[in-house]
Amino acid sequence: MELFQKILPTLLSGISAGGQYALIALGYTMVYGILRLINFAHGDIFTVAGFVMFYAITAMPLYLAIPFTILVTVLLGFTVERVAYKPLRSAPRMSVMISAIGVSYLLQNLMWYVTGGQAQQYPSIPWISGKVMVLGVETKVVTVITPFLTVILILLLVFLTKRTKVGLAMRAAAKDFETARLMGIKIDGVISVTFVIGSFLAAVGSMLFFTNYSTVSPTVGMMPGLKAFVAAVFGGIGSIPGAVVGAFIIGICENIIRSLGWSTFSDAFTFALLIVVLCVKPTGLFGEKLEEKV
């Protein structure tokens, strides 16, 4: 029982971190699935969501600030795709990737400009910032609800892709743009929907992450963004279940390593994992064969 009480907090925060990574990783993996693009700006969109929440809470009550933050983040994701990626639809993939890196730095610099680079105290969202006792261990409420919320959102996402018309269009377009167009699918619309969903999940993820982490600064999203990216690659980029499983594994492993007193190495572990995966099984846990899309 004593051992259990020692392990439980680690496990809880691991699962919670995993859930937050998963919400970000889904944005990477979905965009990759359809565009074969690593959207480097995704981590920054996640950070912007943190700042939007910080400013929104000063101007409006919480029940408005949350939907407002989500809306702004979604609009940002949509706009980034329309402005920076859509004009490059028939350009070589490398150009789009460079554009994504450009957007990433643009967003970071805009955040420096607007905030002056100051780290800001993330508003505490009542209820989820509180503490709760779980099996005799005190922990934040957010730690407990993150995995549940994550699972609910993932189930909704699976329902959307498997059971709805737009999901069918997404899966068709992910395989073959041209044939999808011959079926009457508007590719640009489907891609926009993908970015909207990815940004929505990142916005929710940012609320959970920053409630836990408590300060927002312009570059704070880089680490969770990168780790979510590693999670997506680990699980098999392009695969939704892969991203989720990868994220939970990374979240839990990191926290185990920290609890063993090797905090310094927890980030190194994640990236060492990336290297190992790329060497041993480049397609990841659930990845399909890498193929060039025509």
Partner: protein, 235 residues
């Protein structure tokens, strides 16, 4: 029904279609034959809206449909069964058929029944991922998927490609059956013999131009066509 006037299409700096004029009458099977690289596929892709023409017009009945986007072309009743079948491999057979009906908002039950009647094999496999089907079955699925949009005109790009002769015969029988049920067919083929046998009207395309036209029977009996496309030596 479908009229193509002076169509010119360039592809990466090369003019693939050099001013062709042709007509697809309602209710007929029309075929476009010719060697590899003659511009047949480009012609179909241009009609389907995947490629924009440099010059010329395409009319469906009285309506100008030149350079519309593919979704508009599909909603006007023209569908293309692409070369190499291009079924969506990880979607099930049923899902592939549903994608075919993507633009429709009415009930698709009757059409599903129709497609399953034409291709009973697809019904047996409706829950299988399309990637697990044989080449012939994938071709059936590609045709069935195209029919789900309820087309007036079905264009087909090399349906016989890579299929065993017996399977090809089955596909051509089905094409005739679909035509009998009121769908106009525009077919391009390298297997000129098969195509000419079922065609009401045929065009021969060479290096981007239409060089001959006539009924399928006329071209089938034409000595120069025989020599060039049917693999028979002149005596």
């Amino acid at each position: 029904m479908l009229k193509i006037d002076e169509l010119r299409v360039s592809y990466g700096g090369i003019e693939a279609v050099k001013g062709i004029t042709m007509e697809v009458p309602e209710g007929k099977i029309v075929t476009l034959i010719g060697a590899n690289g003659a511009g047949k596929s480009t012609t179909l892709r241009t009609i389907a809206g995947l490629v924009k023409p440099a010059h010329g017009r395409i009319h469906l009945q009285a309506e100008d449909i030149t350079a519309l986007n593919p979704d508009r072309i599909v909603s006007k009743g023209i569908t293309l069964v692409p070369e190499g079948r291009r079924v969506f491999p990880d979607l099930t057979v049923l899902e592939n058929l549903k994608v075919g009906a993507y633009l429709r908002n009415d009930s698709i039950e009757d059409d599903l029944k129709w497609v399953y009647e034409l291709f009973p094999r697809l019904k047996e496999r409706s829950w299988q991922p399309a990637g697990t089907l044989s080449g012939g079955e994938q071709q059936m699925l590609a045709v069935g998927r195209a029919l789900m949009s309820r087309p007036k005109i079905m264009m087909m790009d090399e349906p016989s490609l890579g299929l065993a002769p017996i399977v090809v015969q089955g596909i051509f029988d089905i094409i005739r059956e679909i035509n009998r049920q009121g769908v106009t067919i525009l077919l391009i083929e390298q297997n000129a013999n098969m195509a000419l046998k079922i065609a009401d009207l045929a065009y021969v395309m060479e290096t981007g131009k239409i060089t001959r036209s006539g009924t399928g029977q006329e071209l089938l009996n034409d000595e120069s066509i025989k020599e060039a496309y049917l693999g028979k030596k002149r005596k």
